[in-house]
Symmetry: C2
Subunit: 216 residues, 2 copies
């Protein structure tokens, strides 16, 4: 497994490093602030204080052995950009950058960033979807219009068996699991009866799952 | 459906409003900066310029009719806190707040915030999990240790049928769908043969799914 380097130990960068280390990935943490580097030196596999816009300093740290390198600098637009350019100059295969705004994202893409993340923007979207679809409890996209979704069982289905509920016939949705009282029933039989408080795990069109979730 | 109010039209707040409106929810957008209120007035159902730390101004805007109210103020610690306190004073049932740091989150909880979101921190965690588990493509938690996960089919299973793969016997995982070439095969039969490039949708223990994903 190749190692990951993270430039910028702010809120995003530090949380990224911590999660990677917790999941067994070895991480090089970089920041120009020696105080931050010192503070995280016991939590991150390896840390070094340097100015990431300096190509020579990056080469000396052996940055080209890391893949991907994540640039977790947001507010400082110039440092974010110059760092992305320097990393591409030393031939790092994959550079992932955080951006503060959509314009920042577009410029990073133009100078070679392989992927750009907008943490604030993405968090707003995720909360919006959750609040807009109250019965909707989770989703994994499978292909263009099909997904696995978890929804609260609508009241009108409580007391019916899966067969009687006609969820497959009416919505084209397959129930692949039921979550009840802290336990999951995988691949339930068609004579399983839906109870109040059940969550249904469905495979089918996302739009149809949302419809089922918002049914009374 | 109750309406949602969002205080603070920064990156997070604006993106939240946009997503809610796109999903058919009516939204009241609030900011003390009249320029921002003007800029978003054509995108958000209703907007008003006021200082959200002023309880009287909130009452005049009829804030208690909205549920939840989201406080999307991050950098300005005092405004975030005073707004949360004012909203609880006018008896808004659910107040969701954004926080900039863990300390900020803890203080918001103490003054009554029902839920606190740390966008930077959560984005770092999400990216960390994704980079640490390259074969892991998505997850919905079902209960304490069981989840629905999507993983890249390991090379050692390519060419075997689901029955021959013994994924259920060896890992306790049920394959509930296969994603192949932009199409999903829901509830595949046990004689379905796994092909190169397939993604498997599994139900079972998350730790076992991760093990399967990182198998060669
Ligand atoms: N040229 C540079 N070289 C190395 N580190 C840098 C450089 N410029 C900025 N940093 C570091 O990157 C970190 C994050 O930068 P910045 O404050 O610009 O982003 P941020 O978006 O506010 O971060 P976050 O929101 O994740 O806390 C800081 O710790 C800063 O010291
Ligand atoms: N007392 C207040 N009343 C109403 N709006 C306020 C108040 N204080 C701050 N705001 C608004 O909240 C918005 C976001 O605030 P702030 O800049 O503190 O957070 P932020 O974390 O930087 O936002 P983001 O990261 O989402 O862009 C700003 O548009 C600001 O005008």
């Amino acid at each position: 497994r190749s190692e990951v380097a993270v430039v910028g130990l702010g809120r995003f960068g530090a949380s990224l490093c911590r999660t990677l280390v917790e999941n067994g990935v070895s991480v090089l943490g970089i920041d120009r602030d020696p105080g931050l580097v010192q503070r995280y030196s016991h939590e991150i596999t390896q840390t070094v204080a340097l100015d990431s816009t300096d190509e020579e300093a990056l080469r000396e740290a052996g940055i080209e052995a890391y893949n991907p390198v994540v640039v977790a600098i947001g507010d400082n637009f110039e440092a974010s950009l110059m760092t992305c350019v320097a990393l591409k100059a030393v031939k790092v295969p994959t550079v992932v950058c955080k951006a503060a705004t959509a314009v920042h994202r577009d410029v990073l893409r133009k100078v070679g960033a392989d992927r750009v993340i907008l943490p604030e923007h993405e968090a707003g979207q995720r909360l919006g979807l959750e609040l807009a679809q109250p019965g909707f409890l989770g989703e994994i996209e499978l292909c263009s219009d099909t997904a696995v979704t978890k929804v609260r069982a609508p009241a009108s289905l409580v007391g019916l068996t899966l067969e009687e509920s006609r969820v497959n016939e009416e919505y084209g949705l397959r129930v692949v699991a039921i979550v009840r009282g802290g336990r999951a029933i995988a691949l339930p039989s068609k004579i399983e009866r839906i109870e109040s408080g059940d969550q249904l795990v469905l495979i089918g069109a996302t739009a149809r799952a949302t419809e089922l979730a918002s049914r009374g």
